[in-house]
Symmetry: C2
Subunit: 213 residues, 2 copies
């Protein structure tokens, strides 16, 4: 099997260290040390820490963009929606270092700011598309403005839920936190179910069935 490229090893290790300790706390020397390569070698592959961050963001952007685009292009099956939300949470969790110290990172890598803003908007559009399709199929009913507001709140929830939970009680596993995050979104949609409790109860059952794999 082919040897893993040093460039990729740098990215992988940097991501792990950033997620663990926070990007600001990790120096290029430390990254090189963990990889057992010289700082000079690291600088041969990346001009500096900023370059590493930008490269990691490109990965994140690519993956999240793919995930978020799917439901816009073609409506999901009704109970696939919860799985979808779950996947978004996992993707964000994999690159969570980015959400800590966002101000600092965007300050030092200004080119990422518009790209990050675009991802947020895409989250919101996707949420809106999903709600829309559920509305058209008769599951949900919205008054004027309610759907847009809900979509915005869901986008914010997707973005910051993991951080909120990490602050409230830092000792929980990622799986549990994500499950609670998905559940909270379901609770937030529940009031808009057309036929009240019945349809919601069904979805709830399907969700717990699907996630106990």
């Amino acid at each position: 099997m082919a040897k893993v490229k040093t460039r990729d090893r740098i990215l992988k290790t940097s991501l792990a260290l950033f997620n663990q300790e926070g990007e600001a706390q990790v120096s290029t020397v430390e990254i090189a040390g963990v990889l057992d390569i010289s700082p000079g070698n690291l600088y041969y592959h990346f001009k500096g820490k900023e370059a590493i961050i930008v490269a990691l963001f490109a990965e994140f952007e690519e993956e999240l963009r793919q995930v978020l685009s799917a439901p816009i292009q073609r409506p999901l099956q009704i109970d696939d929606n919860w799985v979808f939300v779950y996947i978004v949470f996992e993707e964000i969790n994999d690159f969570r270092f980015f959400y800590y110290n966002l101000t600092g990172i965007l300050e030092r890598c200004p080119e990422l700011r518009p790209r990050f803003a675009r991802l947020l908007r895409l989250k919101e559009e996707t949420a809106n598309a999903i709600l829309s399709s559920l509305e058209q199929e008769g599951y949900l009913t919205f008054a004027a403005g309610e759907r847009d507001g809900l979509a915005a709140r869901i986008a914010a929830h997707l973005t910051f839920w993991l951080q909120f939970e990490a602050l409230r009680q830092g000792d929980r596993g990622a799986r549990d936190v994500i499950n609670d995050g998905v559940y909270a979104i379901m609770m937030q949609i529940a009031p808009y179910f057309t036929d009240g409790k019945t349809a919601f109860a069904e979805l709830l059952r399907d969700y717990f069935a699907s996630q106990s794999r």
Copy 2:
């Protein structure tokens, strides 16, 4: 009039700089430079940047704690609740640097972690107390678990809304962002109004009347 103490000037300037540029981007040398005092002088008053951060947090904690405790001790008048939410947002906005790079700050000032977690819990308890009093007065109706879930989401919303908006579109005034944040909370509570749209419409009108001072 008495001359403003250097200690207080340091705190005030540090807060301003931290909010503007992010705590990680501001050095003690820079703070001293802006204040036109020597680094040595700064170190006479504070052992280092951590000490400044801890002192600023103490201010924040004190103020927010007072604000959040009021509705728990005694229910507010029905339309004071929106004003209350507004005040919480403003308080958070004044110390927003803290919410950027939270990971980094809590890493370096571990004693703040439990205190910060306690503030989050207090936010949630306060939201719950307000919802509870509205429920008892007959304005709101909750099924089992709905009130707790809503309170948690409101706490998260209070904590991260400003950051979310700053990322989505960074060029808006704090006032507008806060108004939208309050409105989003109202929208989130709306589905639980007992008599549907009427009571909510009234509150909406009162809110816009009260905030156009």
